[in-house]
């Protein structure tokens, strides 16, 4: 298992290098000049040239990329062109907000989706199954930004139960903190509920049809024991991989949800940075997102190998 993890960690290096190079080239191809963005359209060509030199933008792109890469290996993410603050500091300020939003969305949606998925599989073709299956379809079809607007309209503007925007720190009180978190997490988690519920249901149905489940029933085991002890364990194994993919979806989705709820995370930071041609900030945010995504997928793969004895045995044999 250790060899497998080390091998997978090494394979992440070219992927992350590819992500950084692609982002770097995309940014260099983007029309508009960061120097003009900093100085404004009234700036003279001399002033623009001075700023470009100061930012190192006058060097060939591969030299700029080499410098950026060298700095990254020393833990230096650069300095924001706009705020003049170190990018690492901006990320440190903003990343916890995105992390707590993503974790909250994934946590509540997973806790809801898996039991419902199991229930609908066990109660196949009943009214409850049809109702929840329709809800699952609703979840994956609903545009998250529209759902966010509807949540604000109903629960903030009409009922006044939750704030329409912003984030509240822990220090301001736990109640206030959760009140700010509920609506953005709901909006971000809706897709995950639908996707995970549908996947758990189909996975559970597949397992329920297996011979060993029939054997367990024939042995006279109670239905609860058959479902919880035999079917559930096996049905949840493929669900783990879907969870890994959902982390990537939630991170991407947070860009829009953060914008709707004025949630001060790195998604919102990235969007502003792209519009302002703030290259170091965009590079850092994309790289961090990619890193979180590939690492979470790695963890999911390891977990998958660990819980699935067939894969574990073949890995050990190899």
């Amino acid at each position: 298992m250790t060899t497998y993890i080390i091998k997978r960690l090494f394979l992440l290096v070219p992927v992350l290098l590819g992500v950084s190079l692609t982002t770097f080239l995309l940014l260099r191809l983007t029309p508009g000049d960061p120097a003009t963005s900093i100085l404004g359209v009234q700036a003279t060509p001399v002033e623009v040239a001075r700023i470009r030199k100061a930012l190192g933008l006058d060097k060939p792109w591969y030299v700029q990329y080499g410098i950026w890469l060298g700095n990254i290996f020393q833990g230096d993410l650069g300095v924001s062109y706009q705020s003049k603050k170190p990018v690492a500091e901006l990320v440190r300020q903003r990343f916890p907000a995105t992390l707590e939003l993503t974790v909250a969305a994934l946590l509540f949606s997973t806790l809801l989706a898996i039991p419902i998925g199991i229930l609908t599989a066990i109660k196949r073709n009943t009214a409850a199954d049809h109702a929840f299956t329709s809800f699952g379809l609703f979840g994956i079809s609903m545009p998250d930004f529209w759902f966010a607007i509807l949540l604000i309209l109903v629960f903030s503007l009409y009922l006044g139960w939750f704030p329409a925007s912003g984030r509240s720190p822990w220090a301001a009180g736990i109640g206030k903190y959760f009140k700010h978190l509920v609506l953005p997490a709901l909006a971000l988690g809706l897709f995950n509920i639908g996707a995970l519920m549908r996947f758990t249901r189909s996975s559970m149905l597949e397992v329920i049809g297996q011979d060993y489940i029939r054997t367990a029933r024939a042995k006279g085991l109670s239905e609860n024991r058959v479902v919880l002890h035999h079917a559930l364990r096996n049905a949840l194994i493929p669900t783990i991989t879907v969870l890994g993919l959902q982390i990537g979806y939630a991170l991407g989705g947070s860009v829009i949800i953060e914008q709707v709820f004025a949630w001060p995370g790195i998604g919102w930071l990235a969007l502003t940075a792209i519009n302002q041609r703030d290259y170091p900030v965009v590079m850092a945010v994309v790289l961090i997102n990619a890193l979180v995504f590939v690492l979470s997928n790695l963890i999911v793969d390891v977990l998958y190998t660990w819980v699935n004895p067939r894969i574990r045995i073949s890995e050990e044999a190899a």
Binding site: V15, G18, L26, L29, S141, I149, G252
Partner: protein, 280 residues
């Protein structure tokens, strides 16, 4: 009974999938005949009728410039369907080509192409689409390219996986030993047998493309005003949520229904093409 007839019979037995097809056909009619179906010009403003609630004159109400929201939604269906079709065509053709080359020829080419898909996969999809839009500039045409690029790796992976299964079948080996050229084997034997998974993915990819176009337009990066994109209508309507909730309600509903219909079709196609269902 031919394979296609069996598939059609199984698909038409799924009422939800048929409902999905009906919704998409309705949308297609709206898109094709928009100038005749829309009661008003979708771009022309009428300040005297601004922010009117839904009435018999304006079924879905009007926006801040007095434009008829019903007419704008009808014209907006053109943009959504165009983006869906073109983006998915880009993703399918490029992704399938990558998948076929990787799966059939294997070796270094396979490793290289799969590493490229790994890199594209590592980007959060929306962020990648936003970055590409920043390079290309905001327009409907560029949204199609951006969404198409984002979806290439999924088609590449699906095609490759199907090719790997088909490549080692006896009939392919027989064709190879008879001296049939690679192109002939790929087009005559491999692609037709690897298409099922791609067909299911096409409807899901269209749903995704329509959602991303709406999201990009919502962020101001996609279709530009005054063109009536459902996403940009939502974005502008958001500022009038309390005074004119209909402005955000109907475009959102249009996006939801379209995506919902495409998912119904996707589910129906998956069930109809599933070998297990075929055996039953």
């Amino acid at each position: 009974m031919s394979g296609f007839h069996k598939f059609r019979k199984r698909f038409s037995r799924n009422h939800l999938a048929v409902l999905g097809v009906a919704i998409i056909l309705l949308l297609l009619v709206c898109a094709l005949f928009a100038p005749w179906l829309a009661p008003y010009d979708p771009i022309k403003s009428n300040i005297r009728a601004r922010l009117e609630p839904p009435t018999l004159q304006h079924f879905f109400g009007t926006d801040d410039l007095g434009r008829d929201i019903f007419s704008r939604i009808i014209f907006g269906s053109r943009i959504s369907l165009q983006v869906g079709l073109v983006a998915v065509s880009i993703a399918t053709s490029a992704g399938m080509l990558m998948g076929i080359l990787a799966g059939y020829f294997g070796g270094f080419l396979d490793s290289l192409l799969m590493r490229i898909t790994d890199i594209l996969f590592a980007f959060p999809a929306v962020l990648l689409a936003i970055a590409i839009m920043a390079v290309l500039g905001p327009s409907t045409f560029n949204v199609m390219i951006a969404v198409g690029i984002v979806y290439i790796p999924i088609f590449a992976r699906i095609t490759r996986a199907s090719i790997l299964v088909v490549r080692n079948q006896d009939y392919v080996e027989a064709a190879q030993s008879l001296g049939v050229r690679s192109a002939g084997i790929i087009f005559r034997h491999i692609i037709p047998n690897a298409l099922d998974a791609v067909i299911v993915q096409i409807s899901l990819a269209m749903a995704f493309a329509i959602l991303v176009e709406a999201a990009l337009s919502f962020l101001g990066l996609g279709t530009q005003p005054p063109d009536p994109s459902w996403g940009s209508m939502l974005s502008f309507g958001r500022q009038y949520m309390l005074e004119a909730p209909w402005w955000t309600l109907f475009p959102g509903l249009a996006i939801f229904l379209t995506v919902f219909a495409l998912h119904l079709i996707g589910d129906g196609l998956r069930d109809a093409l599933d070998p297990k269902t075929v055996l039953e």
